[in-house]
Symmetry: C2
Subunit: 533 residues, 2 copies
């Protein structure tokens, strides 16, 4: 008998084609669980939040792996842009659109676009120019003009997750919608910008190209938004027509998830901005589609999207933490540690300046157009908006990898930019992130605003229970009844006039066709019927 | 100005690293949506069901792609075992365990194991031996002993999804639990068997090796089950301890999904049977963990798991349909079409015989141990059990690819086995599948049993609404109160005595530790409190 029992055990029962990857996946899933549990335990902590926890756990794991493999590797998974841009980013952005308070978002729409698009361009310009002149003056590195512009785009991509975890949507609706909306538009702007730079011939820049650039920019913004809205409406229409009176929760949930994902992929197919598309698809789906499905589907989709987004965020921070210790790149820059620190500090300084350079002037401009005091952005709120956008996160990492990691890692220039990006991401997320809770507590000394802080659910549990007990019409009732203040403003500000006509159009044409709150008639077996059994 | 505007558009806004794959993904997601919509429309049809719809849509798409690419390819995605065994199978099997009616399942546990494990071994033996003698006699192909045993394992893996879509868990609980349980145990048995064959030295078979084989088999079964139970209990314990009085739906849902997935990956890590592990993890999670979470989490997990499983099933059938037209393989066998048809028909015949050879004798054996008439498997039910296991599906395909597609596809022997597998899978799913609804209607002429047929939800909507309105304790109330018949049987049959002691142990020790129905005390903010707001 020439059989080795250990080899039998090792092959019986499993496809062992790639056992190493199974080990990695186990570890990674276990780490995700650990992040969730530890994040929950630290919820009441005055400094920590989920992102920082995941980042620190990632770093620690990286160290452990580095030590156990004898300094060879600190990775469990290989960072792939595709993984990030095709699987992790879409659920986060879609959920952002799905859970956003639409009324607040659209009321501050112009300010959000001003901060998100114009602000990001200003920040991009300052960081690019600053990097160019300082680094050339210091004779630090020889980078070409394309590299400087790419650095500008990379360090203009903010990550406001940390701040959003601390802010409360109900307590400070204006501030929340500003920080939140700016974050999404900023993501889209910096990715579009980054891709635009890569495709333009940068050797001769003139005003014609600049105009063309702005034209393309607007074209992308408008088309991406339209695509998202159309996909959302299509999903509402299909579910409304097909499932009328005969519902199947699993099919509805599957269709919503698949169509949300398809909106993103369609945008990528047509070379549009998937981030904007999936964001607006989320908004439309929560306004129409979500009201056409069963109670069970509503609860399931709300929480399934939130959970997906939550896990994707933790995944990214965990990964960034682990990836920060890529030993190959650090080895390349280790012969000039002083230069490396200088490089990173200068970039961090440019980030601080670049952000201050647009938040305060643009807030001033925005305040000029507002008449009522509580619509204006106070100076304290401006500081928080400025602070919220100081953190750099996974988008910066992904863009840096895209531009500077495709060629070999031993190239000194590339290693320098990537290690600086990692340094800036880690420093800003950890140091600025840890200071966020105390800072906001200092600037907004509301007794209540920290009650629900760091909860991963932007909507309170109440809002899910109400539609389950009632007829699904109780939800958003506080939004549909015009408040006294909005009635008054209707006569004074143009935004509310737009809102008034939108409501007329929505109630008169859109909702009868696409469904929506209060426009799903009662039929036996339909969502409105289910809850009475 | 040397800029081509089209190239700007083509690069602005999207990472175009692999645009072809984006096209494929869009098409695939669109096809999944189409399958769901068409499946819903055909729900009332007397022949069709979701699997067959997906298979046909897959075939049609394959033809279209074949024509548009000029006969080069019929694929959108490359079939990968990893995709199947790591991403698609786990949610299906987990959901099976999560939604199964545990009492029925454990009451028929011995019969299920008899059919699923012993039956699969009998079927495997008959198909292997039959193939060996017939093909050697016909001088059809020269295959070695390992190939014949692999063919036996490949064609012993059944796919009872079609039948389960037609059967009703409430109308025919015994039959449903038999077909359902046998399906899961059969999946695990055939995968374990297949791997065992690959790792054993088949040149000298003797009784010692056979004993060792059976020993390993039992070892795998017991350890896999234990691992699943332990992971499930761990999840229950963690959620019960951590979330006591302070719940977060997203974290709970994320933890449940991640730990369910981890149970599968852990089993693969330890070379155990992931299928069995994740199945028992599902059972334990639905018995303990599910009762420790908020109402919203309960609804979300139930439907999220069902949806994942539903999409994965459609995905598989769609894929199998598309993959059936792999032109390379058909070209290789096209010079001997007669032999190819003979080969497939013989295999199909062996499948029919192999299944009949154990269903009827084992049913007879099982009936001998049962005293009450309504616990016995009637002859009509035996025919349905036999029929339910005639279909061959994705597991067969994946196993066939694993063994016969790793070497080059132009090898004649390999192409022959794979095309025959595709033929048997397509023929059995389409022809037998189409006849399933009429056959069951003929054999079980109950007026009610077709009311909810082909619904993708194994549990009725009622069971979700009840716990949302009450305190979460109303669910399963029909199971917890011992029925008169089970009280009577308690005294006569050993199964129920086991069940009685299990209940005592469960109520006395397990539930106080791990939570479960009725054992989650009332605390403000806890699940039992939420629903009262």
């Amino acid at each position: 008998m020439a059989i080795d029992p250990s080899s039998i055990f090792s092959k019986l029962g499993a496809f062992t084609s790639d056992h190493d990857s199974i080990v990695s996946m186990n570890l990674f899933v276990a780490l995700l669980c650990a992040c969730i549990v530890i994040g929950h335990l630290l919820e009441e902590n005055r400094w920590m939040n989920e992102s920082i926890t995941a980042l620190i756990i990632g770093l620690c794991t990286g160290v452990v792996i580095l030590l156990t493999t004898g300094g060879k590797s600190s990775h469990l998974l290989v960072f792939s842009e595709d993984l990030f841009f095709i699987y992790l980013l879409p659920p986060i952005i879609f959920n952002a659109g799905f859970q956003v308070k639409k009324k607040q978002f659209f009321r501050n729409f112009m300010t959000i676009i001003l901060f998100g698009a114009v602000g990001t361009l200003i920040s991009f310009g300052i960081i690019s120019l600053g990097a160019k002149y300082i680094f050339e003056g210091f004779n630090l590195r020889r980078l070409d003009i394309g590299d400087y512009l790419a650095i500008g785009a990379i360090f203009s991509a903010t990550d406001s997750v940390c701040t959003l975890q601390v802010l409360n949507q109900d307590e400070t609706p204006l501030l929340y919608s500003l920080v939140f909306g700016e974050g999404v538009v900023n993501d889209a702007t910096s990715v579009v910008l980054f891709n635009a730079i890569q495709s333009f011939d940068l050797s001769h820049i003139n005003s014609g190209i600049a105009l063309q650039f702005i034209g393309n920019f607007l074209y992308l913004f408008i088309l991406s938004t339209l695509l998202g809205v159309l996909t959302g409406l299509l999903s509402a229409y299909i579910i409304r027509k097909l499932y009328f009176g005969r519902h199947s929760t699993d099919r509805e949930v599957a269709l919503m998830i698949l169509m949300a994902y398809m909106s993103y992929m369609l945008a990528e197919l047509f070379y549009l901005s998937g981030i904007l598309t999936v964001f607006f698809c989320g908004i439309v789906m929560s306004h129409y589609t979500w009201h056409n499905v069963t109670e069970s589907s509503r609860v399931t989709t709300k929480h399934a999207f939130a959970t997906l987004s939550f896990v994707a965020e933790i995944f990214i921070f965990l990964y960034v933490g682990m990836d920060a210790l890529d030993i190959e790149r650090w080895r390349v820059v280790s012969d000039s540690p002083k230069k490396s620190v200088q490089f990173s500090s200068i970039l961090l300084g440019l980030v601080l300046i670049g952000r201050a350079a647009f938040v305060f002037p643009l807030s001033f401009l925005s305040n000029l157009t507002k008449k009522s005091a509580h619509e204006k952005v106070s100076i304290r709120q401006q500081v928080i908006v400025w602070w919220a956008g100081l953190m750099r996160g996974a988008v910066s990492m992904a863009l840096a990898y895209n531009k500077f990691a495709l060629s070999n890692t031993k190239d000194k220039k590339n290693a320098f930019v990537i290690t600086s990006t990692i340094t800036v991401v880690l420093f800003s997320t950890m140091v600025f992130g840890l200071m966020t809770k105390p800072l906001i507590r200092l600037l907004l000394p509301s007794p209540k605003h920290l009650v629900r802080m760091a909860s991963s659910e932007p909507t309170t549990p109440k809002s899910f229970i109400v539609p389950l007990l009632g007829n699904g019409q109780a939800i958003e009732s506080n939004q549909s009844v015009p408040r006294p203040s909005s009635l008054r403003m209707l006569l004074t500000t143009p935004t509310n006039t737009v809102h008034y006509y939108w409501r007329k159009f929505d109630d008169g044409f859109m909702r009868p066709v696409f469904g929506g709150r209060g426009f799903v008639p009662f039929v036996p077996g339909s969502p409105t019927d289910r809850s009475n059994h």
